[in-house]
Subunit: 340 residues, 2 copies
């Protein structure tokens, strides 16, 4: 059975035009060797993080959590790197359509490929989840896992963000890189739990985030093992295996980790169930939502965007006492380049 | 859709009667503090292990492998613990049928439950994969993941092996425990990749093997996230999610780990593809098969058993230069109790 479903359930209607380029001011950074989170401004968000870590690492304290149970999960798109004006993986898929077009002459007359080739964003968006799912499956499968890894690696080395004109892997959030390091320095094991493709993230997550492949959880397509020409290969099949979004996130986390995290970091309604699973099971826990409020240095969006929509999550945050990061106010810098 | 498939594809025809009890001689153990593998007799198997580890950890050597790539995968049933006279998880399922029977009066007249309740092993075996799959799903699902964890933990605390009359978790192989420790001492990350249920192993694998839940890979059933009475829960559904056996093993390993292991340890044809995937990709690698040759201290079986059948694996071992452990000859002791 060939099942056509998109990796990401969110619609991209209008997504392709969200956001506007702005140069960013380079803040003057003081040497702050004692501060593990120098890109975080002093305030309630930073304070909540530091207090939680102090609480669960304080041996003998009532909220002490032994290191083996210090599991932290991070969404990727919009939480660790920029997701506007469109998910990076969608930009990858569109580029792949162009690269693969010579081998697929039928695409010239077949939607949604025709629209992708012609840059007809309106028609592309109208093709909806089904159309985008077809794009993803056509461009992400039919090859071995190791070949796909090479393609992703090469693409990321050359592709540039349409507005910031930088490699996508440089558009990761400096404060979140520091947070990952800070948690690991306190014996947390850090995992990514993303709606994005697991094999789209693994090739670079270790180098960029310090998260090894075995700690990356994401959406996946089915693979098949075969001996071919005397070599063992894993082939990527055009069939969705798992969608790691919304209520899928706790399922993916449980399947991969097998115990409940004590800290979860997200930015959209797709992270709601992950935050609930993490923080509502009893015991000390921490939930955090990155609220994109900085139209000048990055983007400002919440309820009215189809890419990384944050609506129910804001209400749940106030009800559950999750920390909501006000990007504009809480983050001294956004991207690593600003610290150089 | 409710899909009925067994966790383990192997038939148990005759499986329930395989093996015979034998007392074991207590070997006199010398103090061998310098030897990381004291339960391994000197010989080609031990030598192959030690030489491989020396090779990949020798900085500057041509076969050096950096620690982050030192991934080792272990089958469980028959490789780390005893699998005869029947898979431990099947014994668990049969006990569960009896415990759950009062809530299922219909089972008295419905196969394969009727046979399980009456101890009618012949009829049970004749129900085949489909029948055993029904048993597993009926006894392993319909509850939350955390409730299932509690049931497994309680069962293992009281259940005894029918012949050795010990808890199953004491019927793990001492030489393999030492091997796990030895690899970890050399910066290997050790994973379990078993045909058994992932949630059947996770509750005890850390304590017994030193392998944390996030490093256990296995067969799984589907789970569903739900908020119930204001609490987030994962419910186990009566539907198979993944069978981590035979050609499923490389798939499961790739899904969970995301890179190719450099060492694989198995004992049956169910491990063949895992060993191929690990050892035939180029680069330094190590494959090992535990051959059950010790009818006196444990069991002797290979080609003619339905439980842990080893046939193609023996041929592949000689072709691919995998190490074949002759349990009787290579292992000074079998179970931890013998070292006390």
């Amino acid at each position: 059975m060939i099942s056509i479903r998109p990796f990401n359930r969110r619609s991209i209607l209008a997504a392709l035009f969200v956001g506007s380029f702005c140069g960013w001011p380079l803040p003057s950074l003081q040497a702050q060797t004692a501060d593990p989170l120098p890109s975080w401004n002093e305030g309630s968000s930073k304070q909540a993080i530091v207090e939680f870590v102090a609480r669960v690492t304080h041996q003998g304290g009532s909220d002490f959590v032994p290191p083996s149970l210090r599991i932290a999960v991070f969404d990727n798109d919009g939480t660790l790197w920029a997701e506007h004006p469109m998910y990076v993986q969608l930009a990858f898929a569109l580029d792949r359509v162009n690269v693969m077009a010579p081998q697929h002459p039928e695409w010239k007359d077949k939607q949604p490929f025709k629209a992708a080739l012609e840059g007809d964003i309106k028609t592309l968006a109208e093709s909806g989840e089904r159309g985008l799912g077809e794009l993803i499956l056509a461009t992400h499968t039919g090859i071995t896992s190791s070949a796909f890894e090479g393609i992703v690696t090469n693409w990321l080395a050359t592709a540039r963000h349409p507005q910031f004109n930088r490699p996508y892997t440089q558009l990761v959030y400096q404060p979140m890189l520091e947070l990952l390091d800070y948690l690991r320095a306190n014996d947390f094991k850090t995992f990514i739990a993303s709606g994005g493709g697991i094999e789209f993230m693994r090739p670079w997550a270790e180098q960029v985030y310090g998260v090894p492949p075995e700690q990356v959880i994401g959406s996946s397509i089915k693979t098949k093992f075969e001996m071919r020409h005397g070599r063992p290969e894993l082939f990527r099949l055009p069939e969705v295996n798992f969608i790691d979004d919304k209520s899928g996130k706790p399922v993916g986390i449980h399947e991969h980790i097998g115990r409940r995290p004590i800290a979860a970091f997200g930015n959209s309604d797709g992270d709601l169930e992950m935050l609930q699973w993490t923080t509502m099971g009893g015991g000390p826990s921490f939930g955090l939502i990155v609220h994109h409020t900085d139209a000048e240095r990055e983007y400002a969006y919440d309820r009215n965007t189809p890419v990384g929509r944050l609506d129910k999550g804001l209400e749940a945050a106030s009800m559950n006492k999750w920390t909501v990061v006000d990007m504009k106010k809480d983050w001294r810098v956004i991207f690593p380049a600003e610290t150089r």
